[in-house]
Symmetry: C2
DNA sequence: CGACACTTTGATTTAGCTCAAACATAGTGG
DNA sequence: CCACTATGTTTGAGCTAAATCAAAGTGTCG
């Protein structure tokens, strides 16, 4: 078993999928009672502290994960050592789809950005259930497509245009499909790595947004967004 | 049938998949003779001229495609009208995977960059064959994962670092896994849209590479690459 | 040949990078 | 409890790569 020290520490028990509060929105949503009875492998839960690795690209890809709460970044590195965050995943998202392919590898390092709860299950399990369960197959395909459009959006929205535009788009993305316009910001360094700009530029721009009232601190490191004006900026650049 | 005028003009006959020269490397590689007998829908071939649309994101996604030769760009647009090329596809690549999802849409416009031959088949066909054919299912999953790692690489390699680095990486990418180091360049405008830089910067950099002998014109618009030195640039930026 | 589209080159401006220092915040240990 | 370190953020000043605006080449095709 290739369980990193970090993960061992983060273990918080076995999951109870049947009674999971995320049951309807999660990868296994389509599974019947009888399917769950076939699950003999343990499904473990972990609580990750910010900065903790869920997996590294060098790990053997035997597990897949769903996020229960919090957020993780998926990171790739260039030969020169610089890093680029290619996606962030949040509640109900699946990580490690690539573990389904035989002979595959994890494509990224997955690192918690906030206190994060995840469930871990063996990729083998999904392969087996998928064989007889077209519902699950469809769900997997849909997840893959979702990851792909996220990747495309990351490129068109977050790697195109001025730094101001990119930051505005990132902020808007953080509160999309949420009830409130409140959100937690990432470190300036992470923002830079997401947007392909430097830490300083990220900091300057965020500081500027605060001064302009586009961003109001509601509690420590939680901010309310002026969505209409950020939208304007994300398009016009002004 | 939602066949655009362009495509109607480009029709070049029905495909003979069983005797296809790309048979071993193509999506249907795992299909048995008996599977092919179940194919009653027509599989059409098209020859696209440079600039021709294979499909638009506004089209009803009823078909999938494989590229026999040539190259296409997948394009997305920002609200302000600027375009970004998120991927290029070449021989043996599949387009329109997203047509497999019910209620989905094409995520891009697909436009030929060179004279390009494609085969077109109904997504319905793949859905049906996939139901009973685990081999095809695996192949589809693998294709999706391939598209996803391409998308990630596009972000880390082609949208990070200086213009010189990006261009060098793009050039190297064009000849990867090819016998020769010879390749066709895209228009400067397309290069810009791929790398998130302006047409002028793309032109200047390419012109510079030519002067430095990193790029030698072997025939009209075909170039030999100085791979080792381009590699150096792609990492060190010098 | 002339028209059109694309590429190259030039001159100027500017957004964002770099390097550096000051400031804030939280955690550590005497 | 406070001094002290560590870590991240903000701000500043100067520099540079790339954007912008504009014009001159180059090739292709009717």
């Amino acid at each position: 078993m290739v369980k990193s020290v970090t993960l061992r520490e983060a273990w918080s028990g076995e999951a109870d999928c049947l009674n999971c509060s995320l049951r309807t929105s999660v990868l296994f949503a389509g599974l019947a009672q009888s399917d769950f009875e076939r699950i003999h492998d343990p499904i473990d839960q972990f609580n990750l502290k910010p900065g903790a690795f869920l997996y590294r690209s060098s790990d053997l890809p035997e597990h897949m994960f769903t996020v229960r709460s919090g957020a993780l970044k998926l990171v790739q590195y260039l030969p020169d050592g610089s890093q680029r965050i290619v996606r962030i995943v949040r509640a109900t998202d699946v990580l490690g789809l690539e573990a389904l392919l035989e002979g595959g590898v994890y494509q990224h390092d997955a690192i918690a950005l906030q206190p994060t709860e995840v469930c871990r299950f063996p990729a083998r399990l999904v392969r087996e259930l998928g064989r007889t369960n077209p519902e699950l197959q469809r769900e997997l395909i849909a997840r893959w497509q979702l990851a792909l459009s996220e990747a495309d959006a990351w490129l068109t929205e977050l790697s195109t245009g001025s730094a101001r535009q990119r930051i505005a788009r990132l902020l808007l993305r953080l509160v999309r499909n949420r009830e409130t316009s409140e959100c937690q910001l990432f470190s300036r360094e992470d923002m830079g790595a997401m947007l392909g700009i430097t830490t300083e530029t990220a900091s300057r721009t965020i500081a500027d947004f605060k001064r302009q009232g586009l961003l109001t601190e509601s509690s420590s490191n939680r901010f309310l967004l002026d969505i209409p004006n950020l939208k304007r900026i994300s398009e016009n650049s002004l």
